[in-house]
C-alpha cells in the first residue's frame, strides 16, 4: 500500500518585479491511501500540483512536510543509498518518454537492469521477455528517433517494468499521444496491472484516462485533494465544481443550444412549467426500459434532450436529460425517484410553444 500522510510542498519563488521571495504552496497537506494492485488516478487542471504530487511518491521532489510510505517503508526517512534502492522497485513513465537518444530500444530497456547490476545474460533475456510483453520485440535494434510516439511510450513502459517493480508511476504518459494510440497504451497499462498485479499511480488532466482504466481517483485542485474515492462513486456523485467541470469532458450532458436562451428557474413556478431533469443510471438498470415504463404508467410526455451511454471501465453508465410535461408529470417524477436511479431536477421551464402536450 502507498500512503501519503499530510504531504505539503512549498516552493520559494521570486516574483518578477518584486524583490522579496514568496512561498508557493504546490501541495497542501495531501493524504492518500492507494491499495496494492489498483490503478489510482490523480486528476486536476494544469497547475493543480499533480506532477509535484506524483514526484513526491518516489521523492524526485522531497515534501516540505509530511510522510510517504510505500509497502510499510517510510520513503521520507531513507538515506540516499536506500532511497536509490527503493526507486529501483518503482517504475516511472513520462509524457515526453525521456528515452536515451543514443541507446537503442534494447539499450534503453537494459538501462535500469545495468543500474541494478544484472549480468549481461540476464539482461538480454529479460529485455527480450519484457519487449514481447509490451509488443516491441521487433524494434529492439532501433533508436528512439526511429519510433512513433506510441512505440516510444511502449519502450518507456518496458524500461519502467524491466526491473520487476511493485509500483508504476505514470506522469501524463498519454498526453502527447493521439486518441487511438492513447487507447492502446492505456489498454497495455491495464493489461500489465492485471497480469503483473502491480500498483499503478497515474496523473492526468484527461477524465477519459480516469474513466478508461482507473479504479480510484483523487481530484486535485490548487494543491488540495478536493474529492477522492472509487471512480464509479466520484463519477456518479461528484460534489465539487472542479470535478463536475472535469467530468463534463466525458459525460456529454451539455444542454442543446436551443435551451440556452430559455428562462428556467429552480422554483416550481407556474403550474404549466415543464420539469427538466437529469437522470443518471449505472450498472444493471441501464438495461431496463425506464422511459417506456414511465410513458405507459402516467399521463406524461417525455422529451429526451440529451442521451449518452458510456462505460466506466466495465460498468455501463448513462445520462439522460429529459423534459417532463403533461398532467401527471409530478407523479412521473416520483416514479423515477423511486427507481434505482440518480435523478437531479435541473429546473423548471416555461413551455415555449404554448401548446398542450
Amino acid at each position: 500500500m502507498i500512503r501519503l500522510d499530510g504531504v505539503s510542498k512549498v516552493y520559494r519563488v521570486s516574483d518578477p518585479g518584486e524583490t522579496a521571495k514568496k512561498d508557493l504552496h504546490a501541495l497542501k497537506s495531501v493524504s492518500l491511501e492507494i491499495e496494492n494492485g489498483s490503478i489510482y488516478g490523480i486528476i486536476g487542471r494544469s497547475g493543480a500540483g499533480k506532477s509535484t504530487l506524483i514526484r513526491c511518491v518516489n521523492l524526485l521532489e522531497r515534501p516540505s512536510s509530511g510522510r510517504v510510505f510505500i509497502g510499510g517503508v517510510e520513503m521520507t526517512a531513507l538515506d540516499d543509498a536506500k532511497l536509490r534502492a527503493a526507486r529501483r522497485k518503482i517504475g516511472m513513465i513520462f509524457q515526453s518518454f525521456n528515452l536515451l537518444a543514443n541507446r537503442t530500444v534494447s539499450g534503453n530497456i537494459a538501462f535500469p537492469l545495468e543500474l541494478d547490476r544484472w549480468t549481461k545474460r540476464e539482461i538480454t533475456d529479460r529485455v527480450r521477455e519484457i519487449a514481447r510483453l509490451v509488443g516491441i520485440e521487433d524494434k529492439l535494434g532501433q533508436y528512439p528517433s526511429q519510433l512513433s510516439g506510441g512505440q516510444k511510450q511502449r519502450v518507456g513502459i518496458a524500461r519502467a517494468l524491466a526491473n520487476r517493480p511493485d509500483v508504476l508511476l505514470s506522469d501524463e504518459a498519454t498526453s502527447a499521444l493521439d486518441p487511438q494510440t492513447t487507447k492502446s497504451v492505456l489498454g497495455l497499462l491495464r493489461d500489465i496491472n492485471e497480469k503483473l498485479g502491480l500498483t499503478v499511480v497515474l496523473i492526468t488532466h484527461e477524465m477519459e484516462v480516469i474513466k478508461e482504466i482507473c479504479d480510484s481517483v483523487a481530484v486535485l485542485d490548487a494543491g488540495e485533494v478536493v474529492e477522492e474515492g472509487p471512480v464509479l462513486k466520484v463519477f456518479t456523485t461528484p460534489v465539487k465544481g472542479v470535478t463536475k467541470e472535469l467530468l463534463a469532458q466525458v459525460m456529454k450532458t451539455q444542454l442543446p443550444d436551443s435551451f440556452a436562451g430559455l428562462k428556467f428557474t429552480h422554483e416550481r413556478g407556474s403550474r404549466q412549467a415543464d420539469i427538466l431533469l437529469q437522470v443518471s443510471f449505472f450498472g444493471d438498470v441501464t438495461a431496463s426500459p425506464i422511459i417506456s415504463g414511465l410513458v405507459r404508467n402516467f399521463d406524461a410526455d417525455v422529451n429526451i434532450l440529451v442521451a449518452h451511454i458510456d462505460h466506466i471501465r466495465a460498468t455501463p453508465c448513462g445520462t439522460l436529460v429529459i423534459q417532463l410535461s403533461g398532467p401527471d408529470r409530478e407523479d412521473a417524477l416520483e416514479y423515477l425517484l423511486d427507481m434505482n436511479l440518480k435523478v437531479e431536477v435541473i429546473g423548471y421551464v416555461a413551455r415555449s410553444d404554448g401548446t398542450a402536450r
Partner: protein, 220 residues
Amino acid sequence: MSQDLTALLARGLVDTLYMVGVSSAISFLLGLPLGVILSITAPDGILANRPLYSALSLLVNIGRSIPFIILMVAIIPVTRFLIGTSIGTDAAIVPLSASAIPFVGRVVESALREIDDGIIEAALSMGATPFEIIRKVLLPEALPAIISGLTLTVINLIGYSAMAGAIGGGGLGDIAIRYGYQRFMPDVMLATVIALVLMVQLFQFAGDRLSGMTRHDKKN
C-alpha cells in the same frame, strides 16, 4: 623548392602535429572532468554547489579572457618549471594546453547542459547514482556534441600553434614567419598556408564524421 626547404616543411609539419596532438590530449584529459564538474555543480545540476561552480567558472573565464600571445609569455616561469626551458616545441605545449583546458571545459559543460532534464530525471527515478548518471547518461548522450567541440579545440590549437612558432616553438607557423615573411620567400609562405588549410579541413571532416556516427537523435 629545394630539397632543404622540403625537409624543412616536413619537419615543421611534424612539429605542428606533435604540438597540437599532445596539447589536445592534455586539454581533453583535464578539460573533460572540468566540464563535467562545471555542469553538475551548476545551479540546476545534479550536484549543485554554488561556491565550487562560481570559483571554477571564474577561473575558466580568466583563462579564456587572456589573449594567447600574452598567456604564452606570462606563463614562461611555469613552462620553465615544467619543461626546463621556455623555447622549443615541448615548451609550446604548456601554453597551448593552458589555453585549451578552459575552452574544452566550457565546450563540455555546454554539451552536457543541452541534455534534456527529463532524461536525467528518468535516470534518477531508476535509482542511478550521480556517477552513473555522468557515465551512462550525460557523457554518452552528449558524445556527438562533445566530439564537435573537441574538433573545434583541435582546430583552434592548430591556429595557436602557429603563434607559438613566434617565440621559437617551431612548427609550420615558425617556418612561415622566419622564411616566408622575414626572408621574403612567398613560395614557403604559400606552402605552409596550404598545409595548414589542408590540416584544418582534414580534422573538421574527421570530426564531423565521427560526431555524425555517434548521433542517433535525428531521423535518418
